[in-house]
């Protein structure tokens, strides 16, 4: 029988970050997976990043995680979204080479001496005196551990639908987890059922790409990782096609055969990732929908039809695909499908992603009701950090809503729970102006360094860039520049609209050190031009911090407060807010109720 500090169940995008973080912090980690072939597998979209998601990747990277480095090393196209807008919403995105991505991550994990492998199917969670003791595999083998991170994605009682065809599966071709699902539920966690879908894959050779609008990558491409200095690989283009009336008509004709629409599937799907059936039926006035043809790798056959997820019968899918202009001869390698799966209500977790019912048990990723690789990766990293700290009886590491999108993510999940799959958007962050891709390292790398996540290499690189920023700020405060016929201090000039810091550098008026143009300029520009806005957000942050500083004892009894409605008491008891600030964010809890709670907490503290 083997014994580890931390066992991570699942080697998907959450699991690998969890294992990596715990291992880098010096713990003895085992990854339990069905097969090493599916390490860091992307079951759906062959892409990393996008709006808000790109921010999460930068943050994972700033804390020494894998995702940013992996995608930089293996991607086939890079794009910076929202480039024409302000720096707070610039979002990097990349098309992934799925196979190479998985291989890169596997190589990194296998090279890490603190990581071992348990190949097989996880069965039962073992608990001793209420705390995590280990894991029993389905074949009976037992492994001991002090902390357990479960990142099983869509595998818990997973069920795949293709038309009337139903097959238990976690992902296509992979068996679902029943025993583990039951083991988790035996602890009494609140749980629900969600669904998601994926589109058909087409064979590259059956498509004439010259018939579509080409979408090339950026030139020059913008990397994800702070450690990536240049990207030199050639980029591959994507293509765009639009649906037509004929496509819509076909969908409507066969709608009764769609499990998403005929009631065959229970479970709630993500509204921001609508299936083709959703699009056609719910938005009938829309003349055409945009579909992207995305290669799943540089030299693989599969073309991913982005925006075309559906679960109609396979034969119907083929007809619909071939109704797309330019795809009349397309060959379908694999039909699209819908998958239903169990998830655990994340209100069962505290903000370190540890379950309250079972100390030492951490949950991360889609099992918590999120969707998206980046959301999974961010949670995995946070869970891994805290599992590692738990093992050493160190206090948990919690990220605030003002610190990172990861903080927003965890707080949203644990305070509000999930009624449908959760995806990150920039609009979820009330301090969006402070959470930018150019300052992710300033926000997080020092914290990572404190706990051993950040290598010397990365730290040196960071200190370098931070010092450079300080020197640049000093130059700006000392220089006067000419704008038109006026001479004014550079700091004041940069506040004016229409004055571009790059231009001043080009004109030779500002002697700045620019090593990484995008983030070096962005940090400076934001600081001066949007000073007023940043200051207001800082004030709001100060308010938030004050509320967050008022802790609610973990054994506080909400039912001991008369004047609270029964629903409020139920909500509060299930969420167990850790601070007054968190209590304020619980849906349905009024400010007056929180005032009462605060009064009682204060009274209790006085004794």
């Amino acid at each position: 029988m083997n014994s580890y500090d931390v066992i991570v169940i699942g080697a998907g995008l959450a699991g690998v970050e969890a294992a990596w973080a715990a291992a880098r912090m010096g713990r003895d980690v085992a990854i339990c997976t069905l097969s090493t072939d599916t390490i860091a597998h992307m079951p759906c979209n062959p892409a990393i990043g996008g709006t808000a998601k790109g921010h999460l990747v930068r943050e994972i990277d700033a804390l020494g995680g894998l995702m940013g480095l992996a995608i930089d090393a293996t991607a086939i196209q890079f794009k910076l979204l929202n480039r024409s807008r302000g720096p707070a919403v610039w979002s990097p995105r990349a098309q992934a080479d799925k196979r190479r991505y998985g291989q890169w991550v596997r190589a990194a994990l296998q090279a890490e001496p603190n990581i071992s492998w348990i190949l097989g199917k996880a069965g039962r969670i073992l608990v001793d005196e209420g705390q995590i003791a280990g894991l029993a595999m389905e074949d009976g083998t037992v492994h001991r551990c002090r902390a357990l991170v479960v990142t099983t994605g869509t595998f818990l009682n997973g069920l795949i639908h293709v038309g009337p065809d139903r097959r238990p599966a976690g992902r296509v071709g992979e068996p679902p987890s029943h025993q583990l699902a039951e083991s988790l539920k035996s602890f009494g966690f609140a749980w629900g059922r969600l669904k998601t879908g994926t589109p058909p894959r087409l064979h590259r050779r059956s498509i004439d790409f010259s018939r579509f609008v080409e979408e090339p990558g950026d030139n020059p491409p913008v990397p994800f990782s702070f450690m990536t200095s240049g990207l030199s690989r050639p980029q591959i283009s994507c293509h765009v096609v639009y649906t037509t009336d004929r496509v819509h008509a076909l969908v409507r004709e066969h709608i009764a055969e769609s499990p998403l629409f005929n009631g065959q599937i229970s479970g709630i799907g993500p509204r921001y990732c609508p299936s083709l059936e959703d699009k056609v039926m719910r938005f009938p006035h829309r003349e055409r929908h945009q579909i992207f043809l995305e290669p799943e790798g540089a030299d693989v056959d599969e073309i991913y039809l982005n925006g075309f997820s559906m679960s109609l019968p396979a034969s119907v899918q083929e007809r619909i695909v071939r109704a797309l202009p330019g795809l009349e001869d397309a060959e379908m390698i694999r039909p699209g499908y819908a998958v239903e799966y169990d998830f655990i209500q994340p209100t069962e977790l505290d903000r370190s992603l540890q379950t309250r019912r079972v100390p030492g048990l951490f949950l991360a990723g889609q099992i918590n009701g999120t969707s998206g690789y980046e959301e999974a990766g961010a949670q995995g990293q946070i869970a891994g950090i805290n599992a590692a700290r738990f093992v050493h009886r160190e206090p948990a590491m919690v990220f605030g809503r003002d610190e990172s999108y990861g903080g927003v993510l965890v707080d949203d999940l644990t305070t509000r729970g999930c009624l449908e799959p959760y995806r990150m958007f920039t609009s979820r962050a009330e301090h969006r102006l402070l959470l930018r891709i150019d300052n992710a390292d300033l926000r997080l790398t020092p914290r990572g360094r404190e706990i051993g996540l950040v290598s010397d290499d990365r730290w040196a690189h960071f200190e370098d860039r931070r010092a450079r920023l300080t020197r640049n700020q000093s130059v700006v405060s000392r220089t006067t520049v000419a704008i038109g016929r006026d001479r004014l201090p550079a700091a004041r000039a940069l506040r004016q609209p229409g004055v571009d810091v790059r231009q001043l550098v080009d004109e030779g008026q500002l002697a700045l050190e620019i090593r990484e143009p995008l983030i070096d300029f962005a940090s400076l520009e934001t600081q001066y031009r949007f000073e007023g806005y940043l200051k207001r957000q800082e004030e709001s942050v100060a308010r938030l911090k004050r509320q967050e500083a008022r802790a609610i004892p973990s054994d506080f009894r909400f039912d001991g407060i008369p004047g609270l409605s029964r629903e409020s008491i139920e909500r509060l008891t299930s969420v167990r807010p850790e601070t007054i600030g968190q209590a304020l964010r619980i849906p349905g809890i009024t400010a007056a109720a929180v005032a009462l709670i605060a009064a009682h907490v204060a009274a209790g503290a006085r004794g």
Partner: protein, 453 residues
């Protein structure tokens, strides 16, 4: 912070004598205490029960009779009551002694004397009313004039909330579109153009301006206006004051400089509470020390007044002092030609004065009607007003945020900065109503637009 697990009691009707006084109980023991006070086993809810009120201590130690009053008692079961808790209302005879005795009896039976506003606080806590309505209850009780009462009632009915919701809905639509354009840049959707955004913002700002104009109007309704009556000695100020105030307050003699003190009286004029101030005769050059002090105070009152009533004697020629007064009081004044019952020494039309006679009452009604407009308050519109300083302040902040957003948008500042200001405006609205809806923006986006891959 109020405690909410006990039963509170208080006299609900204003102090002083009246036919009926009401004692109100609210809390978990209200029914139990009421049964003890009435010596009845049961009190049917929502049923006015005529019953005796008993007290263990009697009405006073010297009158140790157990029965203190015959009253009508009504019980309201939670949550269908004013506070949302169990409530008992005892309508007793309006004698202060009786009412105090009932309260004392209730306290002896286990109730606690309520703090000011505590019943309303409980009503808010139990969700019976929202913040604006809670404040309106106070205003209704404080209302002096019928118009004030109506404005307060409007608040209670929720029309301010309704109007705000309309503005907020427009703002939410704009915010949702802007957020969508940031979070879904690749959808091929046209969410909103800069021109459309500018128009929407202008419209929102105009709506807030309207509400704020009502705020100024509302403040006036709530706090009232001051009208200072100024003029040379013995032009008839005090007589006019008496006429306007409706009682013979000031001392009226023939000797100039008689009114040494500032007399004030508060009356309603066209629905607005007015405080009239009668000043000493302002001879721009003083005589003795007492008169000087009077003059100084008069100047002060004049400066602080919302409207100045300049009284000029029509039966005597206009002097330099008169003309000086006319000059000095350019804005917010009404020129009054007094003593028009006597032969005219000059024409009122020359200086645009209003002719009045305190003797015959001629012109007094016209003068009253001219006062409110002269104070710059414009027409009294019969619309819901923002009569509360808290609301006005929050709306000012919201407006400032909208103005900033407009300027930023016009200057080409990135959308996320414009949105920061718009979110702030919405947060101020939420603070008025006490509501904090979550997830609204995303919900709005997905209901309107088909997005996502």
């Amino acid at each position: 912070m109020f405690s909410t697990d006990d039963t509170i009691v208080a006299i609900a009707t204003p102090p002083g004598r009246g036919g009926i006084g009401v004692v109100r109980l609210s809390g978990p023991d209200a029914a139990h205490i009421a049964r003890q006070l009435t010596h009845r086993d049961t009190l049917e809810p929502r049923h006015a029960t005529l019953t005796y009120i008993f007290s263990p201590i009697g009405i006073a130690p010297e009158a140790p009779s157990a029965k203190i009053d015959q009253s009508v008692v009504t019980r309201f079961e939670a949550p269908h009551s004013y506070t949302g808790e169990d409530v008992v209302e005892i309508s007793a005879h309006g004698s202060p002694v009786v009412l105090q005795a009932i309260v004392a009896a209730a306290i002896a039976a286990g109730a606690r004397l309520a703090n000011p506003g505590e019943f309303t606080f409980r009503a808010y806590l139990h969700g019976r009313i929202d913040l604006v309505q809670a404040e309106a209850v106070a205003e209704l009780i404080d209302a002096v004039t019928p118009l004030q009462a109506r404005v307060a009632f409007d608040h209670l009915e929720g029309t301010l909330t309704g109007r705000l919701r309309g503005i907020d809905a427009a703002l939410l639509d704009l915010v949702a579109r802007l957020e969508a354009s940031l979070d879904f840049p690749e959808e091929g959707y046209h969410f909103i153009t800069p021109a459309e955004a500018g128009e929407a913002l202008a419209s929102v700002q105009a709506s807030i301006d309207e509400l704020l104009a009502d705020a100024a109007h509302g403040r006036m309704i709530r706090e009232g206006l001051t009208a200072a009556i100024v003029g040379r000695p013995n032009v008839g100020k005090s007589s006019l004051f008496n006429r306007l105030a409706g009682a013979a307050r000031a001392i009226v003699t023939d000797v100039p400089g008689t009114t040494r003190d500032l007399l004030t009286e508060r009356v309603e004029v066209c629905g607005v509470p007015f405080t009239f101030v009668d000043t000493a005769g302002v001879r721009r050059t003083a005589g003795d020390a007492i008169e000087e002090e009077g003059i100084a105070r008069a100047r002060q009152a004049e400066g602080a007044a919302d409207v100045v009533i300049v009284v000029l004697d029509r039966s005597r020629p206009l002097t330099d002092d008169d003309r000086a007064l006319i000059e000095d009081t350019r804005a917010r004044r009404v020129l009054v030609a007094s003593k028009i019952d006597l032969p005219a020494a000059w024409n009122v039309a020359e200086i645009g004065a209003l002719g009045v006679s305190s003797l015959t009452d001629e012109g007094i009604a016209d003068l009253r009607a001219a006062l409110v407009p002269a104070a710059g308050a414009g027409e009294l519109r019969d619309r819901p007003a923002v009569a509360n300083i808290r609301h006005a302040a929050l709306l000012e902040q919201a407006r400032a945020a909208i103005v900033r957003a407009r300027a930023s948008a016009a200057a080409g500042v990135p959308e996320e900065c414009v949105l920061a200001d718009l979110h702030e405006a919405r947060a101020r609205f939420d603070e008025v109503t006490g509501a904090r809806p979550q997830d609204e923006v995303l919900r709005t986006i997905f209901e309107r637009f088909c997005i996502g891959k």
